[in-house]
Symmetry: C2
């Protein structure tokens, strides 16, 4: 079970580390962090926080391809080398997955046309413009493509994948290992439940006009 | 708002990245990843995945001190240099915080005697032996010390801290930014709700006899 997780500058760290913390418990899994140039990766908080050990040429034919999101990944959506690697990895993957605006990269690579998929709530219109059939669910499963909503949805997505690829017992044991018994102190995690003034303010920050 | 987050080899990545993804939105926050020797940090999945930019000598008097956990951090609990830095940072911190077995490091530093605190469900007895007043809650608040349960509890802990230190509106806007509207596919995230055979199996893996 070869798992390739894309890294790029300005990515959101939790988008990747959530699924990583689940995938690492999959039987026989080998995790490969892959980027255009291996080495330190700067997150969208401006820190040299993550490290990639592999270049695109090092990793081909992963069983699981994973793409994280970012507060702004326009530079990746326009990078021909990255999109070519994503398309190639997808062509033989068993599962192609993304969290948050990682799906915009899949969309830019032309992989989501008419595919039921999702993204961060503030980027749903961009996903639609890329030809996807947009769904506002936490985890969306269409064929071999699994896409998740914003940032923290990656944990839900990876547990869903663990159950689909292996069995529910494994997914439950991973969930217990990471004590994933979420108890958010507020009910403001979705644009449906958060106060409307907060939704407006957060949307403005993510989508400068 | 100077935030110091400890890193060490064999740490659990999500323990730190969950709170990081919340703390980075705190007004005026500067995040410092601190380790005994700056540079790449190997996680408990065996990957050179994280990077620390500061040594202990570089960072003193943080406003928030944060300690992540690990599947095994005995080597840190026994490291005098690390414990001395933790004690010193705690002596002037506004908040001292941990997730998962990070609290065992606080306990080994002698900071949790009779303090209401928690840890990963499979390590509660160790925390008790360190003199803490053990509580089985998701996030435990005693004076300036905030401790969280296993791994994924760090997101709940950091949002709780954002509301305590600033205001609920800020915490809610961060929760919405990271779309923290958790929908675990199973109800197996706590040792109270997971099937008993899974609890036994996971406990055995975390606590080799």
């Amino acid at each position: 079970m070869k798992i390739a997780m894309l890294m790029y500058d300005n990515m959101t760290a939790l988008d990747l580390i959530g699924p990583y913390e689940v995938f690492r418990f999959l039987p026989g899994a080998t995790l490969h962090m892959v980027s255009k140039r291996p080495g330190l990766v700067r997150t969208d908080a401006g820190l040299q926080l993550l490290n990639s050990e592999f270049a695109f040429a090092d990793i081909s034919q992963p069983d699981i391809l994973f793409i994280p999101g970012s507060t702004d990944n326009t530079h990746v959506m326009q990078d021909k080398e990255t999109l070519a690697w994503v398309r190639e990895a997808h062509s033989s993957s068993k599962w192609t997955t993304s969290v948050c605006t990682g799906s915009l990269i899949l969309g830019a690579a032309g992989l989501l046309r008419s595919v039921r998929s999702t993204t961060h709530w503030a980027a749903l219109d961009i996903l639609e413009r890329l030809g996807a059939q947009v769904v506002t669910e936490r985890v969306v499963h269409d064929g071999k493509i699994l896409t998740g909503a914003g940032v923290s949805a990656g944990i839900d997505l990876a547990l869903t994948l663990a159950a689909l690829e292996f069995e529910e017992t494994l997914a439950k044991s991973i969930q217990l290992s990471i004590e994933y018994d979420p108890q958010p102190p507020f009910d403001a995690g979705s644009s449906q439940t958060a106060p409307s003034d907060i939704v407006r303010a957060v949307r403005a920050r993510f989508r400068p006009t």
